[in-house]
């Protein structure tokens, strides 16, 4: 079974600096998708960024980028120029295949941004 591991329960970063959140996953599949979701205090889950496993290029969305290491099964999230509004729980998620309905989530990393 596929598992997603986030080894950092909590992280903190100074405003305007850069932070990297780690995520590893275990799978024997070759076709899969990886996601990072943000859950602010409102608890609404917001999709931050996604990566298709067949793409070698790392995904980027404004200040958010990923470091996708397929061989190492690693999918880290880098937040540049951190802002106070980035403070939230961040969840890494995995889904195998395009039509699969089973998305697996990690336990989350709580990010604190210090002013």
């Amino acid at each position: 079974a596929q598992t997603v591991t986030q080894s950092q329960p909590e992280m903190s970063v100074q405003e305007a600096e850069t932070v990297t959140l780690s995520c590893t996953y275990d799978t024997s599949e070759s076709d899969y998708y990886l996601f990072w979701y943000k859950q602010p205090p409102s608890r609404q889950m917001i999709l931050v960024i996604r990566q298709e496993a067949y793409k070698q290029q790392n995904a980027t969305e404004n200040r958010f980028s990923v470091n996708f290491q397929k061989a190492a099964k690693s999918f880290s999230l880098k937040i540049s120029d951190s802002q106070l509004g980035d403070a939230a729980m961040y969840f890494c998620a995995y889904r195998s295949g395009f039509y699969n309905n089973d998305m697996r989530f990690g336990a989350g990393t709580r990010l604190t941004v210090k002013p």
């Binding site: 917001i46 999709l47 996604r50 889904r95 309905n101 998305m103 990690g106």
Partner: protein, 113 residues
């Protein structure tokens, strides 16, 4: 644009009482719909998903059930709540472009006393 609604936002129910949580999606047709539960300080656990009206798949055997009476409506129910049913319940949808990921509603906080 697509939007997803859940209600109620919060709910406090006694043990043994019934439950009905509703989720509706606007701006899309034939979405895949999902119910997740998030225990305090934990990740998300997939409870049910549906690929069409009347089609329900259960991921975890439990005290809950789901129904999809209309294309864009997904309901989570229980006949008798347990204390362990307390948690944060999230509904999500996904369109045909599956690679885009799932989009979540605002959630319902359920407390069973």
């Amino acid at each position: 644009s697509q939007t997803i609604h859940q209600w109620p936002a919060t709910l406090v129910q006694p043990v043994g009482s019934p439950l009905s949580l509703e989720c509706t999606v606007e701006g899309t047709s034939n979405p895949n719909l999902y119910w997740y539960r998030q225990a305090a300080g934990r990740g998300l656990q997939l409870l049910f998903y549906s690929v069409g009206i009347g089609q329900i798949s259960s991921e975890v055997p439990q005290n809950l059930s789901a129904s999809r009476p209309q294309d864009r409506q997904f309901i989570l129910s229980s006949k008798k709540l347990l204390l362990s049913d307390s948690g944060f319940y999230l509904c999500a949808w996904r369109g045909l472009a599956g690679g885009r990921g799932q989009f979540f509603g605002p959630g319902t906080r359920l407390t069973v006393l």
